[in-house]
């Protein structure tokens, strides 16, 4: 038997956008649609607005012709922007939805952590939910019996095992859910960003658990936006973009490609095609750029110099209060800080339709050395409606030169810390001879 555990060939998944938009169809809609749409299509064709049959159908390919092979025991990362097809791929592999074309062959049981806690019933106790959830995930009762104590200990909810989970705190709830899923011992584990659950201590525990799973020789497919977790956990990474497999290889190479090339430069991203731009009904993203004081686009920033992040966006509806913001993350995925637009001119001032450019200046001597990832978004205020939030839109390198003018001083070795502000240092000095003289004086005074 070969040791290939997953083989996908030409996997494709088609969605009808029209269908997706009107998810809650009523019978009337269908009837009206059946009657009206042929005319509408006819008119479109007569006017020459539509040229191909595909355009008539309004379909998108969430996945197109994806082929790969995964060997027993490999831990494979899957990365790509929002809408690249990562989740669709996992959904197909976990048999939640069928591919439109192509096939995949899987040897063994698949466990998925697509969303932990689905299938929990709030009225049931922790104990009952462990059994129920275990059964839903495909564990047998004997298996659950065997692992029951382990699950409870991992989730750290022993005391509340007979309390209905509706009384749990959200942290306890998530921990229990993850614990059940993590103890399912499948040959293949699919993970979709669940590691963002709970506090950082529990996150670490989850990451370790995943590492264990990988080391035990089981196969893991791991979807994440966190490049550091990907490079740490996965030896191999698959990069998807717009439903296509762009690259498949060693993680460090693929991650580097994802961050640096293939999408234009990461220091400036633009969406010339407004149909593909991220955005909601009120605001749409046009571009994000990293610039120096001199207004040049740059990917290297001197730690002492300020750097600006420019966000260009279009307001599609007048009269809303908008809050543009950026999240700054370091290589380890730690949020360094969030910057919300606090431009006094536009605070509490409804915006008119049109194009805007908001620029935030990050002062010099604040960021630490290394890569900084910027996630950008806009939300409306009152009511709060998220317009878009793009992960890792741009990234830049902060360089700390060794000329001794930054917070590192003349130290050339590695420095820790999430930020590296330049502090004011003062020193008081008392020379030795002077001190001796003073001592003599003092002793004289005493003797007198």
């Amino acid at each position: 038997m070969s040791d290939i555990i997953i083989r996908a060939e030409g996997l494709s998944k088609k969605y009808h956008i029209g269908k997706k938009r009107e998810r809650y169809k009523t019978l009337r809609d269908t009837l009206v649609d059946a009657f009206v749409s042929p005319f509408r299509k006819g008119i479109k064709i007569l006017r020459g607005q539509v040229t191909s049959a595909a355009e008539l159908d309004e379909i998108i390919w969430a996945l197109e012709d994806i082929s790969f092979e995964i060997k027993q025991g490999e831990v494979v990362g899957i990365i790509g922007r929002n809408g690249a097809g990562k989740s669709t791929l996992l959904k197909i592999l976990s048999r939640i939805t069928e591919p439109t074309k192509g096939f995949a062959e899987i040897h063994g049981r698949i466990g998925s952590l697509l969303e932990v806690g689905t299938g929990f019933h709030p009225e049931l106790t922790g104990r009952e939910n462990i059994y129920l959830n275990g059964a839903i995930l495909g564990m047998s009762r004997r298996e659950i019996n065997r692992k029951f104590d382990e699950i409870l200990a991992f989730a750290e909810v022993e005391k509340f095992v007979d309390t209905p989970v509706k009384h749990y705190s959200s942290g306890m709830y998530l921990r229990l859910a993850f614990a059940v899923a993590a103890h399912l011992e499948p040959e293949i584990l699919l993970v979709d960003e669940v590691l963002t659950v709970g506090d950082s201590r529990f996150q670490k525990k989850c990451l370790n658990k995943m590492q264990d799973v990988g080391q035990e020789g089981r196969t893991v497919l791991f979807v994440s936006h966190s490049m550091p977790s990907i490079t740490r956990l996965c030896g191999r990474t698959i990069l998807l973009d717009e439903g296509r497999l762009l690259q498949d290889g060693p993680s460090y190479q693929v991650v580097a490609k994802y961050l640096n090339s293939g999408f234009g430069t990461m220091v400036a991203r633009e969406w010339p095609d407004s149909a593909k731009a991220p955005g909601g009904k009120i605001a749409r993203l046009c571009a994000v750029r990293v610039k120096t004081e001199q207004g040049q686009i740059t990917d290297m920033v001197d730690i002492r110099k300020p750097v600006s992040i420019e966000m260009e966006y279009e307001v599609l509806k007048s009269g809303y209060l908008l809050l543009p913001y950026h999240h700054f993350l370091n290589e380890e995925g730690v949020h360094i800080f969030h910057a919300h637009c606090s431009d006094p001119e536009w605070q509490r001032r409804p915006r008119l339709k049109g194009r805007y450019m908001s620029t935030v200046w990050i002062p010099g001597n604040l960021l630490s050395e290394g890569t900084v990832f910027v996630s950008s978004g806009i939300t409306t205020l009152d009511p709060t409606i998220k317009q878009f939030h793009e992960h890792d839109v741009v990234a830049f390198q902060v360089v700390d030169s060794l000329d001794g003018q930054s917070s590192r001083g003349d130290w050339a070795g590695p420095m820790g810390g999430v930020v590296r502000p330049l502090f004011k240092w003062t020193t008081q000095f008392t020379p030795d001879e002077q001190k001796a003289a003073q001592n003599i004086q003092l002793s004289r005074q005493r003797s007198e």
Binding site: K19, G73, R95, T97, K101, E123, A135
Partner: protein, 280 residues
């Protein structure tokens, strides 16, 4: 540390389903523990946070019986095959409540489990099936009340009572058949949710619960069995209360109708199943 793939591991092939319908009954059997847990959950949760709890299972048919006895028995003087009207209608209401509650709850079951369907794979058939099956506990409770009433009215069951499990199975098949149709349609057309109350009401009066089927003359009476609940209800009365005419032909017609309903339902369900995760 590398483990080789054990040979006993089955190969799962994921591809667009071909053919008209793919039967997943074997798979449902494989997941029978899940089925068990889902039924167990439904039963556990059913009367949580209610004051009188499982008594509802008795109260529902009992009060309908009281109302029927008052209006149809006393005022309208509807004949009841020579049996006291209250027990005449209650004996019919017990299987009816099982049937009607079963399909009205199961019809929403897929939509209510949308989260699960979108996130985890398991045979979807388990959802409506478990909902209908969990109604058996209510049936048992209502049935206990029926025996109490039989003792009160001094009814002595005959050996016909041995047919009861079969009649219950017939009710189960009918309920399941309707559930599969409605729950599948509900995934795509939420109109079903609003149709169910009317449908239940209509079906209630289209079934000889408040009146005997002997009001009809042959061959219409036998043809009446096309509504599978006619066979169930008349069968229950015959088996427990000893109504004179054995409803043999009716039951045969009803059984055929129920099986047709179920087979059609399963085919429709399995055909649509693959789209559930995308549509629900």
């Amino acid at each position: 540390m590398k483990r080789s793939i054990p040979n006993n591991i089955q190969l799962i092939r994921i591809e667009p389903s071909k053919g008209w319908v793919s039967f997943k009954l074997k798979e449902l059997l494989k997941y029978r523990e899940l089925l068990y847990f889902l039924i167990w959950r439904d039963i556990k949760v059913r009367y949580k946070q209610t004051v009188i709890g499982a008594l509802w299972a008795i109260i529902q048919p009992f009060f309908t019986m009281v109302i029927f006895s008052l209006f149809f028995g006393r005022l309208a003087k509807i004949p009841s095959d020579g049996i006291p009207y209250p027990i005449f209608s209650y004996a019919a209401l017990v299987p009816w409540t099982f049937f009607a509650n079963g399909f009205s709850q199961a019809s929403n079951s897929l939509v209510d489990s949308a989260n699960l369907i979108r996130k985890v794979y398991f045979p979807r058939l388990a959802i409506p099936v478990s909902t209908v099956l969990s109604g058996i506990i209510d049936f048992v409770l209502a049935f206990i009340m029926l025996t109490v009433m039989m003792i009160y009215y001094g009814m002595r069951p005959t050996t016909n009572i041995l047919w009861l499990p079969f009649l219950l199975l017939l009710a189960l098949i009918s309920s399941l058949g309707v559930s599969l149709w409605l729950s599948t349609m509900n995934v795509q057309f939420r109109d079903v949710r609003y149709v169910i109350p009317f449908l239940t009401q209509l079906w209630l009066f289209a079934t000889p619960i408040a009146y005997p089927s002997s009001l009809l003359s042959e061959p219409w009476r036998t043809l009446y069995g096309v509504n599978p609940m006619v066979g169930v209800v008349e069968g229950f009365r015959w088996a427990l209360l000893g109504t004179e005419t054995a409803p043999g032909p009716i039951i045969i017609v009803s059984s055929l109708a129920a099986i047709l309903l179920l087979v059609g339902g399963v085919i429709y369900f399995c055909r649509m199943e693959r789209t559930f995760a995308d549509v629900v």
